[in-house]
Point group: C2
Chain length 186, copies 2
Protein backbone atom coordinates (compact mmCIF):
# COMPACT_ATOMS: atom_id res chain seq x y z
CA UNK A 1 0.00 0.00 0.00
CA UNK A 2 1.30 3.50 -0.74
CA UNK A 3 2.52 5.48 2.21
CA UNK A 4 -0.17 8.13 1.86
CA UNK A 5 -2.89 5.51 2.21
CA UNK A 6 -1.33 4.14 5.39
CA UNK A 7 -1.10 7.66 6.78
CA UNK A 8 -4.77 8.19 5.99
CA UNK A 9 -5.77 5.00 7.80
CA UNK A 10 -3.61 5.85 10.80
CA UNK A 11 -5.08 9.36 10.93
CA UNK A 12 -8.60 7.95 10.66
CA UNK A 13 -7.97 5.47 13.48
CA UNK A 14 -6.58 8.24 15.68
CA UNK A 15 -9.66 10.38 14.93
CA UNK A 16 -12.03 7.56 15.95
CA UNK A 17 -9.98 6.92 19.07
CA UNK A 18 -9.86 10.59 20.08
CA UNK A 19 -13.58 11.04 19.46
CA UNK A 20 -14.31 7.99 21.63
CA UNK A 21 -12.16 9.24 24.51
CA UNK A 22 -13.61 12.77 24.21
CA UNK A 23 -17.11 11.31 24.42
CA UNK A 24 -16.11 9.17 27.42
CA UNK A 25 -14.70 12.27 29.10
CA UNK A 26 -17.91 14.27 28.56
CA UNK A 27 -20.03 11.37 29.80
CA UNK A 28 -17.87 10.87 32.90
CA UNK A 29 -18.17 14.57 33.71
CA UNK A 30 -21.93 14.49 33.17
CA UNK A 31 -22.97 11.20 34.76
CA UNK A 32 -20.00 9.84 36.67
CA UNK A 33 -17.68 6.97 35.82
CA UNK A 34 -19.92 4.08 36.80
CA UNK A 35 -22.78 4.90 34.45
CA UNK A 36 -20.92 5.32 31.13
CA UNK A 37 -21.94 2.71 28.53
CA UNK A 38 -20.78 1.75 25.03
CA UNK A 39 -24.23 2.69 23.66
CA UNK A 40 -23.95 6.23 25.06
CA UNK A 41 -20.48 6.59 23.56
CA UNK A 42 -21.75 5.38 20.18
CA UNK A 43 -24.65 7.82 20.37
CA UNK A 44 -22.49 10.78 21.43
CA UNK A 45 -19.82 10.23 18.79
CA UNK A 46 -22.01 9.01 15.93
CA UNK A 47 -19.64 6.05 15.57
CA UNK A 48 -21.50 2.80 14.96
CA UNK A 49 -21.48 0.30 17.83
CA UNK A 50 -19.89 -2.38 15.62
CA UNK A 51 -17.02 -0.03 14.71
CA UNK A 52 -16.61 1.04 18.34
CA UNK A 53 -16.20 -2.57 19.45
CA UNK A 54 -13.42 -3.00 16.88
CA UNK A 55 -11.44 -0.35 18.73
CA UNK A 56 -12.33 -1.21 22.32
CA UNK A 57 -13.54 -4.58 23.62
CA UNK A 58 -15.70 -3.01 26.36
CA UNK A 59 -16.44 0.19 28.25
CA UNK A 60 -13.72 -0.54 30.82
CA UNK A 61 -11.15 -0.48 28.01
CA UNK A 62 -12.48 2.91 26.89
CA UNK A 63 -12.33 4.28 30.42
CA UNK A 64 -8.82 2.94 30.95
CA UNK A 65 -7.63 4.53 27.68
CA UNK A 66 -9.34 7.81 28.64
CA UNK A 67 -7.72 7.68 32.07
CA UNK A 68 -4.28 7.01 30.59
CA UNK A 69 -4.74 10.05 28.35
CA UNK A 70 -5.80 12.11 31.37
CA UNK A 71 -2.78 11.06 33.41
CA UNK A 72 -0.51 11.82 30.46
CA UNK A 73 -2.04 15.29 30.06
CA UNK A 74 -1.72 15.96 33.77
CA UNK A 75 1.97 15.05 33.75
CA UNK A 76 2.42 17.28 30.72
CA UNK A 77 0.78 20.28 32.39
CA UNK A 78 2.84 19.68 35.54
CA UNK A 79 6.05 19.57 33.52
CA UNK A 80 5.05 22.79 31.78
CA UNK A 81 4.31 24.46 35.11
CA UNK A 82 7.79 23.47 36.25
CA UNK A 83 9.40 24.95 33.16
CA UNK A 84 8.17 28.52 33.64
CA UNK A 85 9.94 31.04 35.84
CA UNK A 86 13.58 31.37 36.71
CA UNK A 87 13.77 30.73 40.46
CA UNK A 88 13.41 27.23 41.98
CA UNK A 89 10.84 28.36 44.56
CA UNK A 90 8.58 29.81 41.86
CA UNK A 91 8.77 26.61 39.80
CA UNK A 92 7.98 24.48 42.84
CA UNK A 93 5.02 26.66 43.79
CA UNK A 94 3.67 26.59 40.22
CA UNK A 95 3.84 22.79 40.15
CA UNK A 96 2.16 22.45 43.56
CA UNK A 97 -0.59 24.83 42.43
CA UNK A 98 -1.11 22.90 39.21
CA UNK A 99 -1.24 19.60 41.08
CA UNK A 100 -3.77 20.98 43.56
CA UNK A 101 -5.89 22.10 40.60
CA UNK A 102 -5.76 18.61 39.08
CA UNK A 103 -6.82 16.98 42.34
CA UNK A 104 -9.51 19.64 42.73
CA UNK A 105 -11.07 18.82 39.33
CA UNK A 106 -10.75 15.06 39.70
CA UNK A 107 -14.21 13.50 39.20
CA UNK A 108 -15.64 11.93 42.34
CA UNK A 109 -15.50 8.16 42.37
CA UNK A 110 -12.47 7.96 40.09
CA UNK A 111 -10.47 6.33 42.85
CA UNK A 112 -13.30 4.03 43.84
CA UNK A 113 -13.78 2.81 40.28
CA UNK A 114 -10.40 1.15 40.34
CA UNK A 115 -8.84 3.15 37.49
CA UNK A 116 -6.24 4.42 39.91
CA UNK A 117 -4.94 0.91 40.48
CA UNK A 118 -3.65 0.61 36.91
CA UNK A 119 0.06 0.29 36.24
CA UNK A 120 0.01 3.59 34.32
CA UNK A 121 -1.00 5.39 37.51
CA UNK A 122 1.72 3.81 39.65
CA UNK A 123 4.23 4.80 37.00
CA UNK A 124 2.91 8.38 36.75
CA UNK A 125 2.91 8.72 40.54
CA UNK A 126 6.51 7.68 40.77
CA UNK A 127 7.39 10.09 37.97
CA UNK A 128 5.52 12.92 39.70
CA UNK A 129 7.12 12.20 43.04
CA UNK A 130 10.60 12.19 41.46
CA UNK A 131 9.79 15.43 39.67
CA UNK A 132 8.57 17.21 42.83
CA UNK A 133 11.54 15.80 44.77
CA UNK A 134 13.97 17.38 42.30
CA UNK A 135 12.13 20.72 42.46
CA UNK A 136 12.29 20.65 46.26
CA UNK A 137 15.99 19.75 46.12
CA UNK A 138 16.65 22.78 43.89
CA UNK A 139 14.57 25.08 46.10
CA UNK A 140 16.36 23.79 49.23
CA UNK A 141 19.75 24.37 47.58
CA UNK A 142 18.64 27.94 46.85
CA UNK A 143 17.66 28.34 50.52
CA UNK A 144 13.96 28.77 49.71
CA UNK A 145 12.66 25.67 51.47
CA UNK A 146 13.83 23.70 54.50
CA UNK A 147 16.80 21.39 54.18
CA UNK A 148 16.47 19.59 57.54
CA UNK A 149 14.29 16.89 55.94
CA UNK A 150 15.01 14.83 52.82
CA UNK A 151 13.42 16.19 49.61
CA UNK A 152 11.65 12.90 48.82
CA UNK A 153 9.93 12.89 52.22
CA UNK A 154 8.85 16.49 51.67
CA UNK A 155 7.55 15.54 48.22
CA UNK A 156 5.38 12.77 49.73
CA UNK A 157 4.09 15.27 52.30
CA UNK A 158 3.17 17.83 49.60
CA UNK A 159 1.42 15.43 47.28
CA UNK A 160 -0.64 13.92 50.08
CA UNK A 161 -1.53 17.28 51.60
CA UNK A 162 -2.72 18.63 48.25
CA UNK A 163 -5.03 15.65 47.92
CA UNK A 164 -7.31 17.59 50.28
CA UNK A 165 -8.10 19.85 47.30
CA UNK A 166 -10.69 17.34 46.04
CA UNK A 167 -13.44 18.56 48.34
CA UNK A 168 -12.64 22.30 48.48
CA UNK A 169 -13.73 25.54 46.83
CA UNK A 170 -11.36 27.38 44.45
CA UNK A 171 -10.40 29.89 47.12
CA UNK A 172 -9.81 27.13 49.65
CA UNK A 173 -7.53 25.33 47.18
CA UNK A 174 -5.31 28.42 47.00
CA UNK A 175 -5.18 28.50 50.81
CA UNK A 176 -4.34 24.79 50.91
CA UNK A 177 -1.38 25.36 48.58
CA UNK A 178 -0.21 28.21 50.83
CA UNK A 179 -0.44 26.10 54.02
CA UNK A 180 1.32 23.16 52.35
CA UNK A 181 4.07 25.43 51.10
CA UNK A 182 4.43 26.97 54.58
CA UNK A 183 5.16 23.48 55.91
CA UNK A 184 8.01 23.25 53.40
CA UNK A 185 9.52 26.55 54.46
CA UNK A 186 9.29 26.36 58.24
CA UNK B 1 -35.14 -18.45 80.25
CA UNK B 2 -33.44 -17.22 83.42
CA UNK B 3 -31.37 -14.07 83.07
CA UNK B 4 -28.11 -15.87 83.92
CA UNK B 5 -28.59 -18.23 80.99
CA UNK B 6 -29.14 -15.34 78.59
CA UNK B 7 -26.00 -13.64 79.88
CA UNK B 8 -24.03 -16.82 79.31
CA UNK B 9 -25.25 -17.12 75.73
CA UNK B 10 -24.48 -13.46 75.02
CA UNK B 11 -20.99 -13.84 76.51
CA UNK B 12 -20.40 -16.99 74.46
CA UNK B 13 -21.48 -15.25 71.25
CA UNK B 14 -19.22 -12.33 71.99
CA UNK B 15 -16.32 -14.72 72.59
CA UNK B 16 -16.86 -16.47 69.25
CA UNK B 17 -17.16 -13.12 67.49
CA UNK B 18 -14.02 -11.70 69.11
CA UNK B 19 -12.02 -14.85 68.34
CA UNK B 20 -13.14 -14.69 64.69
CA UNK B 21 -12.14 -11.05 64.33
CA UNK B 22 -8.81 -11.65 66.11
CA UNK B 23 -8.07 -14.49 63.70
CA UNK B 24 -9.03 -12.32 60.72
CA UNK B 25 -6.70 -9.60 62.01
CA UNK B 26 -3.77 -12.01 62.35
CA UNK B 27 -4.43 -13.46 58.89
CA UNK B 28 -4.70 -10.00 57.30
CA UNK B 29 -1.38 -9.01 58.87
CA UNK B 30 0.25 -12.25 57.73
CA UNK B 31 -1.13 -12.72 54.22
CA UNK B 32 -2.93 -9.53 53.23
CA UNK B 33 -6.64 -8.83 52.97
CA UNK B 34 -7.33 -10.53 49.67
CA UNK B 35 -6.18 -14.00 50.67
CA UNK B 36 -8.10 -14.51 53.94
CA UNK B 37 -10.61 -17.39 53.77
CA UNK B 38 -13.30 -18.83 56.03
CA UNK B 39 -11.37 -22.12 56.20
CA UNK B 40 -8.27 -20.36 57.50
CA UNK B 41 -10.33 -18.54 60.12
CA UNK B 42 -11.95 -21.81 61.20
CA UNK B 43 -8.53 -23.44 61.44
CA UNK B 44 -6.94 -20.55 63.36
CA UNK B 45 -9.77 -20.21 65.89
CA UNK B 46 -10.69 -23.87 66.22
CA UNK B 47 -14.32 -22.86 65.62
CA UNK B 48 -16.11 -25.30 63.31
CA UNK B 49 -16.91 -24.03 59.82
CA UNK B 50 -20.63 -24.69 60.34
CA UNK B 51 -20.63 -22.56 63.49
CA UNK B 52 -18.61 -19.84 61.81
CA UNK B 53 -21.15 -19.55 59.01
CA UNK B 54 -23.91 -19.07 61.60
CA UNK B 55 -22.13 -15.91 62.72
CA UNK B 56 -20.94 -14.56 59.37
CA UNK B 57 -22.40 -15.36 55.92
CA UNK B 58 -19.02 -15.04 54.18
CA UNK B 59 -15.44 -13.83 54.53
CA UNK B 60 -16.37 -10.33 53.38
CA UNK B 61 -18.74 -10.04 56.33
CA UNK B 62 -15.90 -11.08 58.68
CA UNK B 63 -13.53 -8.54 57.15
CA UNK B 64 -16.13 -5.79 57.33
CA UNK B 65 -16.80 -6.54 61.01
CA UNK B 66 -13.05 -6.63 61.68
CA UNK B 67 -12.62 -3.33 59.88
CA UNK B 68 -15.46 -1.73 61.83
CA UNK B 69 -13.79 -2.85 65.05
CA UNK B 70 -10.46 -1.40 63.83
CA UNK B 71 -12.02 1.94 62.94
CA UNK B 72 -13.76 2.03 66.32
CA UNK B 73 -10.47 1.31 68.13
CA UNK B 74 -8.66 3.95 66.10
CA UNK B 75 -11.23 6.58 66.99
CA UNK B 76 -10.94 5.53 70.64
CA UNK B 77 -7.14 5.89 70.65
CA UNK B 78 -7.43 9.28 68.92
CA UNK B 79 -9.94 10.47 71.50
CA UNK B 80 -7.64 9.29 74.29
CA UNK B 81 -4.68 11.09 72.71
CA UNK B 82 -6.78 14.26 72.67
CA UNK B 83 -7.66 13.90 76.35
CA UNK B 84 -4.13 13.97 77.73
CA UNK B 85 -2.24 17.20 78.43
CA UNK B 86 -3.55 20.56 79.43
CA UNK B 87 -2.64 22.86 76.52
CA UNK B 88 -4.52 22.80 73.20
CA UNK B 89 -1.33 22.62 71.10
CA UNK B 90 -0.12 19.53 72.99
CA UNK B 91 -3.48 17.79 72.54
CA UNK B 92 -3.52 18.61 68.82
CA UNK B 93 0.02 17.35 68.34
CA UNK B 94 -0.73 14.13 70.22
CA UNK B 95 -3.76 13.47 68.04
CA UNK B 96 -1.83 14.18 64.81
CA UNK B 97 0.95 11.88 65.97
CA UNK B 98 -1.52 9.11 66.81
CA UNK B 99 -3.26 9.50 63.47
CA UNK B 100 0.05 9.35 61.58
CA UNK B 101 0.85 6.13 63.49
CA UNK B 102 -2.49 4.63 62.48
CA UNK B 103 -1.93 5.47 58.81
CA UNK B 104 1.62 4.17 59.12
CA UNK B 105 0.47 0.74 60.34
CA UNK B 106 -2.44 0.45 57.92
CA UNK B 107 -2.09 -2.80 55.96
CA UNK B 108 -1.32 -2.29 52.28
CA UNK B 109 -4.24 -2.90 50.02
CA UNK B 110 -6.84 -2.03 52.64
CA UNK B 111 -8.04 0.87 50.51
CA UNK B 112 -7.96 -1.18 47.34
CA UNK B 113 -10.02 -3.94 48.87
CA UNK B 114 -12.99 -1.63 49.16
CA UNK B 115 -13.38 -1.78 52.93
CA UNK B 116 -12.79 1.94 53.07
CA UNK B 117 -15.89 2.59 51.02
CA UNK B 118 -18.17 1.34 53.79
CA UNK B 119 -20.60 3.71 55.51
CA UNK B 120 -18.80 3.14 58.82
CA UNK B 121 -15.65 4.69 57.33
CA UNK B 122 -17.42 7.77 55.95
CA UNK B 123 -18.97 8.26 59.37
CA UNK B 124 -15.66 7.80 61.20
CA UNK B 125 -13.91 10.19 58.80
CA UNK B 126 -16.47 12.89 59.42
CA UNK B 127 -16.17 12.33 63.15
CA UNK B 128 -12.36 12.52 62.96
CA UNK B 129 -12.43 15.65 60.85
CA UNK B 130 -14.83 17.34 63.29
CA UNK B 131 -12.62 16.27 66.19
CA UNK B 132 -9.41 17.62 64.63
CA UNK B 133 -11.25 20.80 63.58
CA UNK B 134 -12.24 21.46 67.19
CA UNK B 135 -8.68 20.81 68.41
CA UNK B 136 -7.32 23.25 65.81
CA UNK B 137 -9.96 25.81 66.79
CA UNK B 138 -8.84 25.57 70.45
CA UNK B 139 -5.15 25.78 69.51
CA UNK B 140 -5.84 28.80 67.26
CA UNK B 141 -7.77 30.52 70.08
CA UNK B 142 -4.75 29.93 72.34
CA UNK B 143 -2.51 31.49 69.66
CA UNK B 144 -0.61 28.24 69.06
CA UNK B 145 -1.64 27.69 65.43
CA UNK B 146 -2.56 30.07 62.59
CA UNK B 147 -5.97 31.69 62.56
CA UNK B 148 -5.88 33.12 59.01
CA UNK B 149 -7.45 29.92 57.61
CA UNK B 150 -10.61 28.18 58.80
CA UNK B 151 -10.02 25.28 61.22
CA UNK B 152 -11.93 22.77 59.07
CA UNK B 153 -9.74 23.53 56.05
CA UNK B 154 -6.66 23.08 58.19
CA UNK B 155 -8.07 19.78 59.49
CA UNK B 156 -8.49 18.50 55.90
CA UNK B 157 -4.93 19.57 55.16
CA UNK B 158 -3.54 17.73 58.22
CA UNK B 159 -5.40 14.50 57.68
CA UNK B 160 -4.40 14.32 54.02
CA UNK B 161 -0.78 15.25 54.67
CA UNK B 162 -0.46 12.56 57.35
CA UNK B 163 -1.69 9.98 54.84
CA UNK B 164 1.88 10.07 53.53
CA UNK B 165 2.85 8.09 56.65
CA UNK B 166 1.76 4.83 54.97
CA UNK B 167 4.99 4.40 53.05
CA UNK B 168 7.50 5.82 55.53
CA UNK B 169 9.90 4.60 58.23
CA UNK B 170 9.17 5.34 61.91
CA UNK B 171 11.66 8.20 61.99
CA UNK B 172 10.21 9.66 58.79
CA UNK B 173 6.71 9.53 60.29
CA UNK B 174 7.88 11.74 63.16
CA UNK B 175 9.36 14.18 60.64
CA UNK B 176 6.13 14.15 58.64
CA UNK B 177 4.16 15.11 61.75
CA UNK B 178 6.63 17.95 62.40
CA UNK B 179 6.36 19.30 58.82
CA UNK B 180 2.57 19.04 58.86
CA UNK B 181 2.41 20.84 62.19
CA UNK B 182 4.76 23.54 60.88
CA UNK B 183 2.23 24.22 58.11
CA UNK B 184 -0.37 24.82 60.82
CA UNK B 185 1.79 27.29 62.69
CA UNK B 186 3.25 29.38 59.87
Amino acid sequence: MPRLWNDTIAAHRQTVRDATLDAAEALVAERGLASVTMSQIAQTTGIGRATLYKYFPDVDAVLLAWHERQVHRHLHSLTQAGDGGADPAGRLRAVLQTYAGIRHRQPAGELAAGLHRGAHVAHAHQHLRDFVTSLIRDAAAAGDVRSDIAPDELAAYCLHALGAAAGLSDAAVARLVAVTYDGLRA
